[in-house]
Symmetry: C2
Subunit: 236 residues, 2 copies
């Protein structure tokens, strides 16, 4: 089978898995049903993904990749997008607009079930943490973030703030009336007030940083792409 046909079939499998997960939740979706919906035999699924877990992890990764590409494009279009509050806002909106990612971030155990707590997710989260670590290192070097908190404390605070914005909604049972955009704006304001310095950053500096930061993103992107599809038979 040609590599392009192989990849196309992999996409069909991922499409099927994504649809079924959204419809019935992770726990209820069987490999058999995914195969059926993709119009192939069950064994064929295993030519693409070593285990059930790997398949659904790939679904999540593929969804994340879309958001990733959006981030890169946005920074390329406007380097000011690399500022923490702009990124936080964009990620928030991007996650909330993708049902699978939203389920993962809000620990929606009904849709994603155990998958969200699996070890394989941990590696992704860890890599993402490393990325933001390097990213804030860069921003700090160039005087774009505050230093009133030391680095571990600042990272911790950033993690806590974002965790909070992703998890608070289900807990405030209808007690607030903020639409998606307002919540994203609130998050952006908080992040800006907490970690960014006052004043408008130098556009030249931003442009220079943009390329470096995009390089970081691309690096992680490659790791993630590798995680989506297996290799075609005979190729390994």
């Amino acid at each position: 089978m040609s590599e392009s046909r192989y990849l196309e079939r992999g996409e069909r499998i991922l499409d099927a898995a994504a649809e079924l997960v959204l419809r019935w939740g992770y726990r209820r979706v069987t490999i058999d049903e995914v195969a059926k919906l993709a119009g192939i035999g069950k064994g064929t699924v295993y030519l693409h993904f070593k285990t059930r877990e790997a398949l659904f992890l790939a679904v999540l990764i593929r969804d994340s990749l879309g958001l990733f590409d959006q981030m890169i494009a946005a920074i390329q279009a406007d380097p000011a997008e690399l500022l923490p509050h702009r990124q936080a806002r964009r990620v928030y909106l991007g996650v909330m607009g993708r049902p699978l990612l939203r389920a993962m971030f809000s620990r929606d155990s009904d849709v994603l079930g155990a998958l969200a707590h699996e070890t394989s997710i941990a590696r992704l989260t860890e890599m993402k943490l490393d990325l933001t670590g390097e990213l804030y290192g860069l921003l700090r070097e160039h005087g774009l973030v505050r230093t009133d908190l030391d680095i571990p404390a600042q990272q911790y605070a950033l993690g806590a703030i974002q965790t909070g914005f992703y998890l608070v909604d289900p807990m405030m049972a209808g007690k607030h009336e903020l639409d998606l955009e307002s919540r994203a704006d609130a998050l952006a304001t908080v992040i800006r007030n907490c970690v960014e310095v006052a004043g408008t950053p130098d556009p030249d500096l931003l442009r220079a940083l943009a390329s470096k930061i995009i390089a970081l993103f691309e690096q992680l992107r490659l790791v993630m792409v590798a995680g989506v599809h297996g290799t075609p038979p005979k190729g390994d």
Copy 2:
């Protein structure tokens, strides 16, 4: 039975319930065992608390009351304690230092189980929300908090930030090395940066506000006290 003896017995029941909940978790604790540990008969428990749920709710409320009194005392001792970042810090340390409250705030379903999601807790949370609403109203009137976010957005952000600091720990599986104090400091810094205005507030203003705010606290305190014990027989 004298009222004081009645109340003392109620405390013994609460002590027993608290100890057993911490030892075995909400789900596994039976009224029978609570009664046995308190050295009384099972029926007697029901002279104090209408239902099992009410009993454990009272345990939680009693624990909260301790923290509440600490808050009031702190503001009385130093009116600057009424500033949001000081309060957030104190509440955080107070909650983390009380196993039952910590379990509730961190949604530790192993210890508290379903109780944390019960409706009766919701009323408490709602009252607490009302309190913070009025509290921030007061602070706003006197120019102590920012207005770069409108009130609903600011309340939402505050809720999200605090939610985050209470929930992020179990998610960052050992990936950070911040002790309790540092985390509390980080929370305080975030809150100050996000909702307080720059500069040192006028001590006279703080003193004047302190009494009003303490009045608010006392008001909620009374509601909570009423929720701890039932009334002695013949008294109702």
